[in-house]
Chain length 344, copies 4
């Protein structure tokens, strides 16, 4: 399968390179970069030395690259993929977009939260979270790969929401991410001395992953869900932990909660249920496509607290994209994704 | 003022040594240690070399030490201070307990959450959070210094709860702490390779700081408050960030929220209000007695999100104890506590 | 190939599990643990959940396990492997010892530095550093896998020493390691708050890896080499950087130095030469079996400075052991070792 | 004493603000910033909120500021202080330059290593390392504050070099620094994800602190010293550890080495000798002006290994500048510098 990566020198693009290089059914035929065109990827990323001889092509070549590819992974800031998707809509290729452009069913939601009109709003597209949309992904032409926080939050809450166990309006998702989620651009905010040995929240009540989470939980529950979502920045590079709160509907038992999780995720290759009272840790999933989930009941408050951990660059981005690619192409779903987490 | 520290070789005790050594009105006359009696403190803690010539005395000497002290700082695991407090109740000294023994008005709550009966439940005592109990602290004989998470959580929510702006039952406190909060005992759980580069929750729906927070918020609001409290462990040493959620009562305006904070903390020497939309960071308070607070309104959900940051060993423990000491002794409240945070 | 791991719950043993689980020609038939016998490995190590169903057997079963294995990986503290090796010497299996017991040609050197007599000093054995001893490893019955610091130090200096370019007596190796090198036992010295955000040396002029380095450099140069070796502890988990100093013999040119490296490592699958003025970083090799090497000439002092970086748990321990296993068994040398480093 | 800080928004300038704000004999009258003129310092640095009401003035005001100051602290990149120093040479103020411009006795050395001619090469100036130049500092008009690495390296070796115990040409200084030493400018090289959890060398055989170290050791020993100096970048913010190697002259005893240290540093307020076999750690000096020193003899190689630890922003920069200020002004040398290190 001839695949190309549009935007290969961001952290997500580099992670795609790492994973796809080891994929026995994928041949990476083109990679592009805005800032490093003409260089070999290994000149930009020291870990790739000796592992990846590909030369970065300019962004301007994206349309030609699409014509020479069967699957296009797009790892660009939002706003670019929809232009490219529209431009190559006539081609018989699949697009897996790791940005936000194809995540929303309603273009108006995208326009509202991302501040620009959607230019390809009529495109058929599927939300790329395999544990929810696997069947649709099999035949999708455009896959809007789920965002990193939404992956952690939706996977934590999907079993309960789908089973109708939680009260509408009660959901709060408090999450923390490693700094790689903010991308490769060096800014004063991400300067090492500013973040090391510190912890803070950001984007309270306005982070763009909020509507993505709400879209999923609303569809899953069949009623409109409004969610409080608070991201935090951890003094580390990889990993997201989501701590999710919801009020249980009156009378819901602990067993019903347990069963919702086990039923929802039976047979899932990348969901590891730690069970009631389980404590996922970001370290235990690092470098892998796993999402570890544990849950806790609090009879005093009537709430359930669900914890989920992912590697934001793998299950939260590049790994999930390859999972979607595997599903769409009919490969074993864990092809190139069976790495055991790197621990300690 | 002759002061002694019972339990000077835990992290809290060492921090007391650091702060009190620089206190112009305090003379440290005795320090004790369970495991290092007979050694100089600087043999246990390398940072104290050349700064503190005191020799650690055995715990067994505590009663005698009390007789030779005007103020006793007790930094022991819970269960010990109440025995000592009872034994020296006849002496004219003040006790500032940095453990949990004297934090609860109701001994039954202590017994329930800490798993042992209170042996000094009839003692007159004051909860040692100066911003709430300053007047009572002035004349207290026993001060139960506020816990680290409760300090961050209560200071974040006190203005809103006291002003009656939030709905009962809606409060969730999601907090994260550096590892020093778990103390100096080396365990498999706190082994460097297990915690470095990782993040996880612990104590969900059962952490012992929960009833301490509920006691304060209930008294402040005049109605019983039940709170969800979830602590997390950060891959760093010092610092707590509390992210606190509450549903505003219908009709509460943003200005009312702002005014609640500014009115509540006018003139407070250690509260720094970052204002609406402010983002405290643990790094900005490191090594200081400050509590930085910012708040965010979310009209979509009707919730307010309050963020607070402290250094858990200073404002969350030793610094707060010295603040209480200063109040009780009539010294300027910031004596020995005016250090600017260490940044970056 | 039936392989077993004696000592599977230390960090090195767990890393062997991680790598060997993915090895297509290895079947892990037994794993043992001193402290966790009877448990599944995934109960001890959360990253192994869903990846490794093996049950830990008691150490006492080691001899029986040897009889049921074709290759035995031994990851125990020094002193144990030689007893086991002697006990199973009659069996037709290969032993790859990741400890120090079989690293020294001269049992007296072992006795002197490790403080106990060698009980299997007459055993035929090969030093397990493939880039130096590949041919001997092919047919070895007992392989003494090279230590972590020695791997970094010897690989950095082998080209120059073998080519006779450096002055005898001038070698200094200054190296730093992540904390995983100190093992999984929680001690006060490795307690998170003590090591985080700090850096220090240890074992100056007495670390047990010194004679191992000297043995190699002496054999490679044909003259006795005495070396200054100083290890340091980094506030991180994985990775060793060795900074190696040597005085060049008079008249040695920069080209001769360059050629020594390129000639020595031509065709090596795991050595990545960054060239003259190259700067290896531990992050660029994390999770991989690579050793990155760069070198710098200093005409002012007449010294060459060689820098090498490895992941101490992979190329410095478990990865190198699997590399030796592959060589000894005739498999492709990079089988199960072709992972691209995890970056950033 | 009216003092001003030219360049107050770099990390060194901010550290000067932190220390001088607490100095009872210093009144900070002006502070400047290239990029933040017109803002209050606390708007740039969150830790300063409530602690420092000063407004940043433009750099262009530097000459006027000099005229209104008794002491000028200059914390600018090299090349700027000499221009300013020349421009205000007629004024009766003292200048303490924290950059490199006034560190070299020979302007040609400066020109060679810093790549630009010295414009104020005839100015009377003193090297600002109090433990070596205290007497000259008392009356100096221009003090070239010692660099961070040189402070650690010179203090480690001064006793031995001054006493003539080490062989000429044998000195190697291998040092590692926290990232704050690279300044506040965000670059790709200092982007959090690139440095976190990694370790590497930089500037091998060419770092500009090399001639500064050589100048000091040459003057102290009375013979020209050429030194190998290798800096490394630690994944942390504050702290330098220098590991210094030197061959002892034949016949030098351990007692002579010990005596050299104790004699050299008797009565020094900021040198803490950990003695023979002592291990300094950066954590134990964090936030303080201490330099901790330990030394180790290696009879096998004939070398001595001296270890020294400082906080690069305090003893390596701002603290040392205030120490020089105190000496020059006749204040107690530890005024505003008596903070106990922040630990853990």
């Amino acid at each position: 399968m001839k695949v190309s990566i549009i935007g290969a020198t961001g952290y997500v693009g580099a992670e795609l390179l790492r994973i796809l290089t080891a994929h026995p059914q994928a041949e990476i035929v083109h990679i592009t970069s805005e800032s490093h065109a003409g260089e070999v990827a290994a000149a930009v990323y020291p870990h790739l030395r000796g592992c990846c001889p590909l030369v970065l092509e300019p962004m301007a070549a994206a349309a030609d690259i699409a014509a020479d590819s069967e699957v296009l992974f797009v790892a660009l800031p939002h706003g670019h993929a929809m232009k490219l998707g529209k431009a190559v809509a006539h081609l018989p290729l699949r697009i897996i977009d790791l940005g936000a452009d194809y995540r929303f069913a309603d273009p108006a939601v995208y326009a509202q939260w991302y501040g620009l009109p959607h230019e390809h709003g009529d495109a058929a597209r599927v939300y790329g979270l395999a544990e929810w949309q696997r069947e649709a992904i099999r035949t999708a032409k455009i896959i809007g790969n789920a965002g990193c926080y939404p992956t952690a939050g939706i996977l934590a809450l999907m079993p309960l929401v789908r089973a109708g166990l939680v009260q509408r309006g009660s959901i709060i998702i408090d999450a923390a991410s490693g700094v790689s989620g903010a991308g490769r651009a060096a800014t004063a905010a991400n300067h090492f001395p500013e973040l090391y040995d510190s912890f803070k929240a950001y984007g309270v009540a306005g982070h763009r992953h909020t509507p993505e989470i709400e879209q999923a939980l609303s569809q899953l529950s069949g009623e409109e869900q409004v969610v409080s979502f608070t991201p935090h920045l951890l003094p580390m590079v990889r990993g997201i932990l989501a701590t999710c709160y919801a009020a249980l509907r009156p009378g819901v038992s602990a067993d019903e909660v347990d069963e919702a999780f086990t039923a929802c995720y039976a047979g899932e290759p990348f969901i590891r249920l730690l069970g009631r009272n389980g404590y996922p840790a970001t370290k235990a999933v690092r470098g892998s496509n796993f999402c570890d989930i544990g849950w806790h009941l609090d009879p005093r408050t009537g709430r359930v607290v669900v914890l989920s951990a992912i590697d934001n660059l793998v299950k939260g981005a590049a790994g999930q994209a390859v999972q979607n690619f595997n599903i769409a192409c009919g490969f074993a779903e864990d092809t190139a994704l069976d790495a055991i987490p790197l621990y300690p």
